[in-house]
Amino acid sequence: MTNLKGHAVTARPPLWSYWVVLPGFVLFWALIAWLIQSPLLPTPLQVLDTVIREATAGDLWHHLGATFGRVAVAFVLAMSLGTVIGVGMGRSATTNALFDPLLVLLLNLPALVTIILMYVWFGLVEVAAIMAVVINKVPNVAVTVREGARSLDYRLEEMASVYEFTRWQRFREVWVPQLFPYLMAATRGGLALIWKIVLVVELLGRSSGVGFQLHLAFQVFDVATILAYSLAFIAVVQLIELTILQPLERRSSRWRQPEAAHA
């Protein structure tokens, strides 16, 4: 999470903590699994075996890919729609009056209800699955972006008027940099939520994806497969965090850390 100025609220703990706590956890897990000796708690090695088996058979990539595709489409749709609505609500009292009651409704609607309704109304099809995710996510994006749009600095607006910025310049040079921390917050919150909803959507009504695999494994109490897919899933989410989100955030907040102050 970031605060309004885009600075990290919670400082990341030192790197060594990851190298101590996570292996420690795996050891603890291995110890319990060894003590219990039950198929309901496979050892870390058995899970790793399952990951490798699924990966070499190609199943892992197929299902991860299906999930990832749904997440990507739902994310882009939800972010675009939510941003447009959020900016509209932040800038215009009428738009806000029109959408705010609906937001209250949608924000409190359980994700599961949307998913069931979409499947009931439109059938167990891809469009229904994506729509269910988008409908769940748009209100969160809109609320976050609305805060950003409300905090746009009127002084820079005036400056842009005096210096006759084009519409595009105003958008690109004045609005986007100010909205960026809010868009980033919406992106992070959005991805975290969308990943999870997509799994439920897949579990309830698709025949591919990580959620579908979890569903199959659950039916036969195949805990090793459940954990294998979960770990692969966590790895993908972390990969996106490290390779896309963090560099993007660093790049866009560079101007906030002046290298040298001339006082």
Partner: protein, 223 residues
Amino acid sequence: MLELRIAGRDFGQPVLGEIFATVERGDRICLLGPSGIGKTTLLNAIAGLDKSIPQEAIIGRDKLRVGYLFQEHRLLPWRTLSANLQLAGATPQEAENHLASVGLKGYGHYLPDQLSLGMARRAALARCLAVKPDLLLLDEPFASLDPVMAGELKVLIAGILDANPGMAMICVTHDGGDAEILANRLWYLDGKPARLQWDDVVGEAGLIDGLLGRLRRLDLADS
């Protein structure tokens, strides 16, 4: 070149009364008056920023290029000085020249937040020049600067005006001393609702002294 026919502004604070005045090329107007009387409001109206004042009330504004030095620098903090000037219409080379002309040669790649207050204000002044203005609007350009920096900026602005005889200036200030250096014309805004109480052309030194004398007596009477 510019004619004000403001019927008044009773929406929000501060309230302006009728304001009729003309600005000609080469006019160097200092706009004086008590705090909170609406000097910045009037400047915003002239800049076309006050939506409660109809465009028709500022005759000739749309034909003028206006450079506005706000109280804060209002440079885009995520863009370098050079990029900020280019967004106002300068070419990269012009941006460099304008920065050099305000004493910021070689600072084109700096971000606004890396500068001191005085430097940032000069950079904002350079952006005013980037539009090749017919009319320069300055809102308390010397506020919160130390006396040395304020003095340097005064000399700088006077130099810019001398180099561009066709350019008009309206400068909001509290300080009659600024007017002595910069102005050939004084506006005094006061009253409820605020009107231009004087609009005097300053010809010779004696007249300035006289006006400043009136001004000082008014200031004393206020306080």
